[in-house]
């Protein structure tokens, strides 16, 4: 009888990388569909262009590197990068934004580092940052929701024209996100009490009936997807909770100090890409710390940066910057934040058993 002689263990959990990627894709599907419905055909076109270029970029790089193309292409990671990048783009952005972004994410963000698991930065967020810096006009083109069959919705051909030919009358469709609007108005020395009413409603913001990136608008659907992933133990609560709690505390604190200058926690939590970032971006295992404490630090760091960028930085939104900056800090966090080893002190010395602790277990035979 011939048998293999590999090393233990010979039992394995059913988890696999493609399965994890698949679960995340499934969890983000409702928000994706909602975004596509909300912004119509141009959004779908952009979405497809982005993921196709990501897959193409992955295949080309794998081929160039002489690695097996099929298993890596099918592990779902490039697809997920594409989806997350598309979700973070303005829904009516031209096709080349998606194409450049997709290629950048996969080639520069991932494959240059050595492919899956090796990248320092979240590829989707790195690409988004690069696009925002390079093409500020196209990357800040926001519009009000216009679902299909509503009067303002473009048809299929019109959608193709918008994606591949450009928007005929930009000024007629573009608006500002709530965060952008607040920033502009605050810059003109107006107060939040005057700015927010009429522009911001917590309910519509939560449901996602608002302008914004393709997939970031519906906090409710994102939250449901994120909680489902938590329940399926794809990731743990540490990063999202630390991130959201930090923003909540900072927003609440500053709002309490000066409500006319600093927007409250509801505005911050329910606007922009915060929810999407907290559950689907910052939780990227490759680019976040591996220990629980490290993840708490990472999440809190993202939260602080998001708030600081939104409130005092040059951009109205800061999730992508915050995540990329904290990605850079991840190796450092992982170097210093380690679990305590069993039988050792935090410093790694052998941990003696205190003499008084050497007693029979409570409630065991002899002590009764």
């Amino acid at each position: 009888m011939s048998v293999h002689l590999p090393s233990a263990p010979h039992a394995h959990a059913s988890d696999s990388v493609p399965r994890i990627m698949g679960l995340v894709l499934l969890a983000v599907a409702p928000a994706t569909l909602y975004g596509i419905v909300l912004f119509g055909w141009p959004a779908l076109n952009l979405f497809l262009v982005t993921i196709l270029t990501c897959l193409l970029g992955e295949a080309v790089c794998l081929r160039l590197a002489g690695r097996a193309v099929r298993p890596f292409l099918l592990d779902g990671s490039a697809l997920l990068t594409g989806v997350l990048l598309a979700l973070s783009l303005p829904p009516w952005a031209p096709w080349w934004i998606g194409a450049i972004g997709g290629f950048f994410a996969i080639v520069v963000g991932k494959q240059v580092f050595g492919g899956i698991g090796q990248n320092l930065f979240n590829p989707a967020m790195l690409a988004r940052v690069a696009l925002l810096v390079s093409f500020p006009v196209e990357m800040t083109l926001w519009l009000e929701p216009r679902p299909p069959f509503s009067g303002a919705a473009p048809g299929f051909l019109e959608g193709l024209a918008i994606t591949f030919g450009g928007i005929p009358d930009i000024d007629a469709v573009s608006g500002a996100t709530i965060l952008g609007h607040v920033r502009t108005e605050l810059g003109m020395a107006r107060e939040l009490g005057q700015i927010l009413p009429g522009h911001y409603g917590a309910g519509t913001a939560a449901l996602g009936w608002t302008g914004g990136s393709l997939g970031e608008t519906s906090d409710l659907l994102i939250l449901i997807g994120g909680l489902w992933l938590l329940w399926r133990r794809v990731f743990t609560w540490h990063v999202p909770v630390a991130l959201l709690a930090t923003v909540l505390v900072l927003a609440a604190g500053f709002n309490w100090l000066n409500p006319e200058r600093f927007a409250g926690p509801a505005v911050h939590l329910l606007s922009g890409g915060l929810m999407l970032g907290a559950f689907f971006i910052a939780t990227d295992p490759v680019t976040s710390p591996t220990t629980k404490l490290g993840q708490l630090i990472f999440g809190a760091g993202c939260g602080v940066l998001v708030y600081v960028i939104r409130t005092w930085g040059g951009y109205p939104e800061g999730v992508a910057f915050a995540v990329v900056l904290m990605n850079a800090a991840t190796p450092l966090i992982d170097h210093y934040v380690r679990p305590r080893i069993y039988g050792r002190t935090w410093r790694g010395q052998s941990r003696p058993v205190p003499e008084r602790a050497r007693r029979p277990p409570a409630g065991s035979g002899g002590t009764e």
Binding site: M1, V3, H4, L5, P6, S7, A8, P9, H10, A11, H12, A13, S14, D15, S16, V17, R19, I20, P71, D75, S77, G115, I116, G117, Q118, F235, T236, P285, V286, S288, P289, T290, T291, K292, Q295, D334, R338, P339, R340, I341, Y342, G343, R344, Q349, S350, R351, P352, V353, A357, R358, R359, P360, P361, A362, G363, S364, G365, G366, T367, E368
Partner: protein
């Protein structure tokens, strides 16, 4: 009693139902037994029989030698057919000195005096008898039990933790033993407490074995010193370090012993063997072995003589229904692949596991680490397996050490949890081997340096002595000359 938590751990599918409900069957005595002289930690036993010699069941075949060693005895009566190398139950399949015994079919015991009441014996004598019976840790540690008891008594342990956790999936030999021979186990525990001079015993059983818990509770009801603790079913709850943590909340200090916490851990099978040795003067010549796995026709527990071939056990269980993808000695988490079925079972063999390809999930191949941290979460020792393996892979031993390589207990929880199917344990075993090689080389270099220095010192000393002698001779000559001159 109050229990504590241990870190990490995983929940592999138990699969114990395959064999847990069949009563223990006695394996019919095979025609030939192959008893290795080394079935334990420490030095090999020295054969005390000659080829052609007729031996009785229980007769000494090999005597323990040196500080850490264990004797081996004849599992049945018959003729010593050979003393020589035979394939060991080890992945390498390398041969070990083995005594081959041809059974005469009589199974006649060696005549012995009935043992005295063990409670009239001194603790040292109990330990000595346990040693003479060749008892080693039956949970797989294979450390001579008498030595462990003696050291623990010196360390003044207060509690004997009797390990019936049996956290390895598929394995049910301890479960069946507890269900069927609870009184004998309890008697063994009582005897070990006497040998230890310790006041308490806690019998720890995972809560997936309610029948065993009930039987053991009933058996030790009148024993004031003993308690049964139901511990959560989470691998590796049955690892000594983790079991101590569950029972006391204390950690075995790094580089220290479990007894530093005041607790000594012994397997239920060991307790049973102690009972047999002290009440019936029976040395350790048989054990309960779980023969199981999807590839086995009739999984069950067998009471098999030491030295029976894996082949014999499998045949008794109806053979393999399909060619196993994995043939292991032990459970799927820490079991060792066997080189074939022509190897004997030994004192530490708790199971023979024949897994199908589907059970072993062979279809998956390793892929790159995605740093998901599941290994960190699963590690019961608080290590970062992903960082350790990264360093071990690149022969960065110091880096791997920095992340706690020497604290790794090779339980396999990390590799079980890894979605990328990285053979983490294999990397760690490799690194531990490389570390040992390096330490040996360092030791050798140190020794060489010491010898060289000694030699240089000796040469210098000789040189000096020579020079002094020459000077002395010159002085004497001069003196003699001077004397002669004066005389003239």
């Amino acid at each position: 009693m109050k229990l504590f938590n241990f870190w990490g751990g995983v929940h592999p599918a138990g699969q114990k139902h395959l064999s847990a409900d069949q009563p223990i069957q006695v394996l019919p005595m095979p025609a030939r037994l192959h008893v290795p002289l080394q079935q334990h930690t420490g030095r090999s036993a020295v054969p005390v029989v000659k080829v052609g010699q007729i031996v009785r069941k229980g007769e000494l075949l090999g005597r323990a030698q040196g500080g850490v060693s264990a004797s081996v005895h004849a599992p049945t009566s018959g003729v010593v057919a050979a003393i020589g190398d035979f394939a060991a139950p080890h992945v390498s399949g390398l041969p070990l000195p083995t005594i081959t015994l041809e059974s005469d079919g009589e199974d006649l015991w060696l005549e012995r005096e009935p043992p005295p009441d063990p409670f009239t014996l001194e603790p040292e004598d109990i330990a000595a008898r346990i040693g003479e019976a060749g008892i080693v840790g039956m949970g797989g540690a294979n450390f001579p039990a008498a030595l462990k008891l003696g050291k623990a008594r010196q360390a003044k342990v207060h509690t004997l933790a009797v390990n019936g956790a049996e956290c390895e999936p598929y394995m049910t030999c301890d479960d069946r033993l507890m269900r069927e021979r609870a009184e004998q186990i309890v008697d063994g525990v009582r005897l070990m407490l006497h040998a230890l001079q310790a006041p308490n015993a806690v019998i720890a059983i995972e809560d997936n074995k309610p029948e065993a818990v009930a039987r053991m509770k009933a058996a030790c009801q009148s024993e004031r010193q003993m308690r049964v603790a139901m511990v959560p079913s989470r691998y590796p709850a049955g690892s000594a370090k983790q079991l101590i943590q569950i029972l006391t909340g204390l950690e075995t200090p790094a580089g220290g012993r479990g007894t530093d916490t005041g607790v000594l851990v012994h397997n239920v099978g060991t307790a049973y063997a102690v009972h047999r040795a002290l009440r019936h003067a029976h040395p350790l010549i048989s054990r309960i072995v779980t023969v199981t796995g999807g590839a086995v026709a009739r999984p069950q527990n067998l009471e098999a003589p030491i030295g029976a071939l894996v082949e014999d056990l499998l045949a008794f269980c109806g053979g393999v229904a399909e060619t196993p993808a994995r043939l292991l000695m032990g459970g799927p988490m820490m079991g060792q692949p066997l080189p074939g079925t022509q190897v004997p079972i030994v004192k530490g063999t708790n199971g023979i596991l024949a897994l199908t390809a589907a059970e072993a999930r062979l279809e998956a191949t390793p892929s790159p680490c995605i740093r998901c941290g599941r290994c960190v979460e699963a590690c019961p020792m608080g290590l970062m397996p992903l960082e350790m393996s990264k360093r071990a892979r690149h022969d960065d031993l110091d880096g791997a050490l920095d992340f706690g390589l020497i604290d790794c207990i090779s339980c396999g929880s990390c590799a079980y949890a890894c979605p990328s199917r990285i053979p983490l344990v294999q990397y760690f075993e490799y690194a531990k081997g490389a570390l040992e090689t390096r330490q040996r080389a360092e030791q050798k270099a140190k020794e060489t340096r010491r010898l060289l220095e000694q030699r240089q010192a000796r040469l210098a000393r000789e040189e000096r002595a020579k020079a002094e002698a020459a000077a002395r001779r010159r002085a004497e000559k001069r003196q003699a000359k001077a004397k002669a001159g004066a005389a003239a």
